[in-house]
Structures are given as C-alpha cells and as structure tokens.
C-alpha cells in the first residue's frame, strides 16, 4: 500500500499541518519514499460519506454501475456511499446486498454500504428480510424504500420496531402518496401557472410528523431523507426539542436551487422531492446550520439522456450529485457564512457515518484512523461541465453554471483515487487496495 505525505494541508479546525499515511491508516511520521502531495492552500476534509446514493446496479446499468458511481463519488471527494435499494432485483435479500457490497470492494474507489429495502420489492406490503440483510456480509444498517414512502402507518410502526433488533435505522422517503398522485413540481403559484400537477409540502410534512410521533412512542430511531420544506424543518425542530431520536438529511440541490427553474420545462430540474420556493431553501439552510438537519446527502440519481429528453411529465425524476456536492455546499453554506469547514466535515462525513453505523470516520486524521480524506481547493471556480462528471449519466442541473471549489485529491483507505483533480486508473486503485 502506498505511503503518502500530504504537506501543508489546512485541517477542518483551521490548523495547518502535514499528514502521513501508511498501511491504509494515518501515522505519526513520514514513511521514507512516501508519495508527496502538496496541499498548500488546500482544505483537508475527512473522506466524505454519502448516505443517499443510487448506484443503479444491478438492473439499470445504462444509468450507472457500482464502478461508475463510485468513480463519480471519488471525483466528488467521497470515500463511502450508501447505495439505495431500488435496484432490479431490489436490494431486499442478503444475496443482492452482498453482491452490491462486493462490487464496491472489488473496484476500491469507495466503500459501498448497501441500503436494504424495508418492504419486499419496495411494494409497501410485507417486510423484507431485514435480519438476513443485517447479518449478511454487507452488514446492512440502513433500510429504506426510497423512491417510495413507507406510507402504511402500521407497516412503518413495525419496521421501526423491528430494525432496532439489528441496530438499524429506517430512512424514510416522506411522501404521502395520495396527496402527490401525478405530482410534477412544487405546488404553488408557479405550478398552477405552468399547468404542472403540484407536490404540496404538506405531503412531506404530514409523513414526517406521523413518523416522529411513532418514533417517540416506540423509542425508535428514525432518519428522514431529503427534507425539502420549511414546514418539515419546523416539525423536525419540534421533534428534536422533545428528544425524539430523529436525524434528517438535505440534498445539495435543495440547498441551492428553487422551483423557478421548472419554468423552462427543462427536465434536468425535475427531481423528487421537487425543488421548492426560496423561503424553503432559506429554511433548510438555516436548519443545516443550527443542527436541525444533521447531514447533507446527495440523492445522486443517474438517468440516461432519453429519460430527460422528454416532456416534463414524461421525464424521470432525479439529478446526479456526487461530483458537485461539495461545491454546492460551499456555495450555499460556506461562502454564505452559515457553516465553517469543521461543520462541513461533520455534515458530510462524521454525522452520516454515525447514522449509517459506518466505522472509521469518528476520529478523522487521528493516528491509527483509516486514511479516508479529501483535499479541496476552495479558491477555485469553474464552469461546471460534462467533463466534471465521471458517472455514466449527465443529468446534472449545474451544467453551464459557475461553482466554487474543486476536489484536488481523494484518498480511500490510504489509496489515492483522485490526484491533481484527476481520477486514478481503475487498475491502480484495485492494485493499491489489494497491496
């Protein structure tokens, strides 16, 4: 395994020092002959952890594979991703989750932790074999029917109770299905003007309210995916104030973009939950800043071109987000003064790792800790382009927009996956991990 010496990096707490890596962990002193990375002027962050990624494999390899998705992750500074369950076959058995995890391990660009389905086939009817997935080699700890809401109150109650047995958490896609039938964009003045069926905030807020009450009643742990409205923030703030064991995520796009983009009918901006109003953007930013929302997760959702080159109603929901996530967080939260880099390290690494029960992220940069890190250049500015995308799909809402910051290097388990802003070749990464 390569030894690395990273000189002059600024750590999240603002201190500046050299970092030494050997044998996949941080070490005290430089190893002779170590590869040198000049990090002067760069911000060192712990390896980023995405609790919400769609890798699409098995089943939808035209959109993304574990390899292409983890390359996209590495390019964005991520060293671990939690892969959502809506594959085909669905990640609802030990066999499928083990396959996905092993594909990740085989390629080595990032740790892949599969998320298990809550219900068989995401159908919302019967619990999937949560125990088998938890005890499998994939050691699943996060369960979600993401893409669909566990809308049946009784099933949600059972799921919350049952996953506790295995130290797991339910990550809820909060969307009341009847209130959002055919929904296309945020419900409001603009949706009415555009003649697109509205997705009202109450459909998210009502499910979160129900679920936090269930979690309180049962003493269970709940995670809320992609919080998008000011009303949801209020419910979460109330729940946390009562001591309910709930965590929540916000996506980069909900921190930066608003529903106004739908006025073009350009389906790149079609996403679920939809882009909301400016006041919602401000509310989720404030919530991330004050801890009401715990983490940022990308909801990286690759789709082939033909799924987006269509009328708005016929196009697929979703945006890719791994490669742009840190830049968007910098634009929305850091450059606005709402978060410092230590907070970024928390919301994009330590906190998502803790929610997902992922080891190795609790004491970043400490001697003996696994060497997962990202080096970012916050001073860079770039017009985001398809060349910045490394997954299989290009459905990014940021193409053509200027974004701050860029990833200069990513190190996963002591092995560089990105150097000088370029992905390292697959053979080198595989070889490095095997060494």
């Amino acid at each position: 395994m390569t030894a690395l010496t990273i000189t002059g990096a600024t750590l999240p707490d603002g201190t500046r020092r050299d970092l030494h890596v050997d044998g996949g962990v941080f070490v005290e002193d430089a190893t002779a002959g170590a590869t040198r990375i000049d990090a002067d002027g760069l911000q060192a962050l712990p390896g980023l952890v995405d609790l919400h990624t769609h890798l699409r494999e098995p089943g939808f390899e035209a959109s993304e594979t574990v390899l292409t998705g983890t390359r996209a992750a590495a390019a964005g500074g991520f060293t671990a991703v939690f892969a959502m369950a809506n594959t085909f076959p669905v990640q609802d058995t030990a066999g499928v989750v083990e396959q996905v995890a092993s594909l990740g391990a085989q390629h080595g660009y990032a740790t892949v932790r599969p998320i298990g389905a809550v219900t068989i086939g995401l159908a919302g009817e019967r619990l999937a074999e949560i125990g088998a997935m938890a005890r499998s080699r994939a050691a699943v700890r996060v369960f979600s029917d993401d893409g669909k809401c566990v809308s049946d109150a009784l099933l949600m109650r059972r799921a919350l109770e049952y996953v506790a047995t295995f130290g797991g958490v339910i990550a809820q896609h909060a969307q009341e299905p009847r209130l959002t039938e055919g929904a296309q964009m945020n419900e409001g003045e603009l949706s009415s003007e555009l003649g697109l069926a509205g997705w009202p905030g109450v459909a998210e807020e009502a499910i979160i309210a129900r679920d936090v009450l269930l979690a309180e009643q049962l003493g269970a742990r709940l995670h809320v995916c992609h919080v998008s409205t000011a009303g949801s923030v209020e419910v979460l703030r109330w729940a946390k104030g009562r001591g309910i064991d709930v965590t929540a995520e916000v996506t980069p796009h909900h921190l930066l973009l608003t529903e106004q983009l739908a006025a073009s009918y350009d389906a790149r901006y079609k996403v679920n939950p939809p882009l909301r109003a400016q006041e919602d953007v401000e509310a989720v930013r404030a919530a991330l800043a004050d801890g009401t929302i715990d983490i940022v997760a990308t909801d990286h959702a690759p789709h082939p071109i033909e799924s987006k080159e269509a009328t708005w109603a016929e196009a697929s929901f979703g945006m890719v987000g791994l490669e742009s996530a840190l830049s968007v967080v910098q634009a929305a939260m850091v450059d606005t003064g709402l978060l410092g880099w230590a907070d970024v390290a928390r919301v994009l690494s330590a906190a998502p790792a803790a929610i997902g029960r992922l080891d190795g992220y609790a004491a970043p940069f400490a001697v003996g800790s696994p060497a997962h890190l990202a080096l970012a250049d916050p001073a860079a500015r770039r017009i985001f382009a398809t060349a910045d995308l490394h997954g299989r799909s290009v459905n990014s809402p940021y193409l053509g927009s200027e974004l701050p910051g860029r990833i200069v290097a990513t190190v996963h388990d002591g092995v560089p996956t990105v150097l000088d802003g370029e992905l390292r070749p697959a053979e080198e990464v595989v070889h490095g991990q095997a060494a």
Binding site: E189, G195, L196, S264, Y265, A310, T311, A313
Partner: protein, 316 residues
Amino acid sequence: MRHLLSVRDLTRDDAVGILDIAEDMAAVATRAVPKLPTLRGRTVANLFFEDSTRTRLSFESAAKRLSADVITFTAKGSSVSKGEGLKDTAQTIAAMGVDAVVMRHHASGAARTLADGGWIDASVVNAGDGTHEHPTQALLDAYTMRATLHGGAARGRDLDGLRVTIVGDVLHSRVARSNAWLLATLGASVHLVAPGTLLPPGVSGWPVTTGTDLDAAIDDRPDAIMMLRIQSERMHDAFFPNEREYAREWGLTDDRFARLPADTMVMHPGPMNRGLEISSAAADSARSVVLDQVTNGVSIRMAVLYLVLSGSGGVA
C-alpha cells in the same frame, strides 16, 4: 413571430396585431373562392398527440385557406402508440420537410420543450399543451369578444374595461390559463368562479379575481361569461360530489341565464356538456357566441400560421 407557445409572450400590441390580421383573414372567407395563395409551397404538420377533432380541423382549414400543404399526424394507431417519444416523432415529421408544426400534446410544456429542444427547425404553434395553455383558443375568444362588442369598427382596439367571468374547472383548464393572461394583457378584467377544489393553488398570483359563488358573479353583470367543460373523470376524484350538485352550484342553468343582462355574451370553448355546465337554453340562445367562436377560430389560426411562416409580419 417565430413560434406561438404561450400568450405570456405577447404584448398588448402583438395581440391586437394578431386580432387585426385575423380580421383580414375573416374577409377572405366571404369571397367566392375563400383562399389565399400566401403559404403556397409551405407545409404545415398537425401533430396531435391527444385527440381534438375540432382544433385539428380548425388548423387544417386555416392552413388550406392559405394554400399550405397539410400533413396530419394523430397519436392513435401511430408510432406514438408503439412508444415513440416526442423527439423522434417530431424529427420524423420534420425530416419530411415541414415549415411549421402545430402541436397538441397531453403534457404541459410540450410545445416549449419542442421549440427549445434543438431537434427541429420548424416553427412551433401550441395547439394546447396539457393543463398549461391553449393560446389560439384565447386569441379566438378575445377576437369573438371584440367583434361582438365593436363589429366592423374593431380593428386596432383592445378589450379595455371588458368584464369577463370564467366558470368551472380552472385547475385543469389550459383555456382558462391562456384567457386569464391574454384578456388581462388586452385590458379586460377577469373573474374566475369555481368550487375551491377546482381553483388552482396559488391562483392569487394571477391577474384575476376569484370567487366560489356563481350567483354573486352573475349579479355582478359580466359582459361575457365563459363556461368551461367539466371532464367526466373529475367526478371520480372527489373534486365535487356529483353532476347534479355541480350543475346546481356552478352550472349556467336556465334560471341563472335568465338573470344575466340581455347583452352578456355566453361563451364555451366546446365541446359542451349540456345540462351540466350549461343549459341548452343558454347554449342555443341569441346571446350564445359559441358558433362564432368556432368560425373565428379559423381566422385566428390563419393569422397565426401567416405570422409564424411569413418570417416578418405585423407582430414581432
């Protein structure tokens, strides 16, 4: 005018200009040979992804009166029913050499997507996109109102001060949307009346007033009242209890019709559900301009095709 996608793109002068050209086009219909050579050699494709016999026939006759060649594509039994998407259908039709595409589509924004997609060079005329807009319907409605009010002296005038009440399923109506903005652009004041379930969320941002009480709206003595079609599927989705209650509360019944001022225009974009949103007496009365709307539709569509295909015109 390169495309006609939305009435929101029209200024007052643009809209008045279209209405004036439509006046000229209407005069053609009275000739012994009601045809102009203007668009000879040009091809107009009617792309109807959603059934609409009236609008399709209206555009067809408009194009033919301007001597354009017309090809018509309807989704039923076509490649679309085999899963072909908008892009491929449009490119296929365009490859046959068309100068303008008149499109009806079930998806809101489809006309904009086609115009912005870079897939074809032809001009795009929106003949109704989902629940978004139906610009030529609003133009023909405005034309009808103007002609009814001012007769032969209509040219150059807008609808300043006209009070129009639109009643019914505003939520799902592209006709209501296009009318709300176009009539406002032309100086009319628009009042929308519907059960709360059929008024769009956020309608407060539209240039209109709204209410739920049709009797109060009738007592307000509007200059024109437009009844919107109630689609049968709304009945099954809890927007209102049943047809009887709808007709009682929001239908233009004989009784309400009798209370309207003698010169109030009665309008309907068709096809009508007699006995539901409009009574037969109202539909067939002398105050009904429903058939004028159909006639004027051809003139308006001639004007629009002329403007998008002649490159330069009275309208920028």
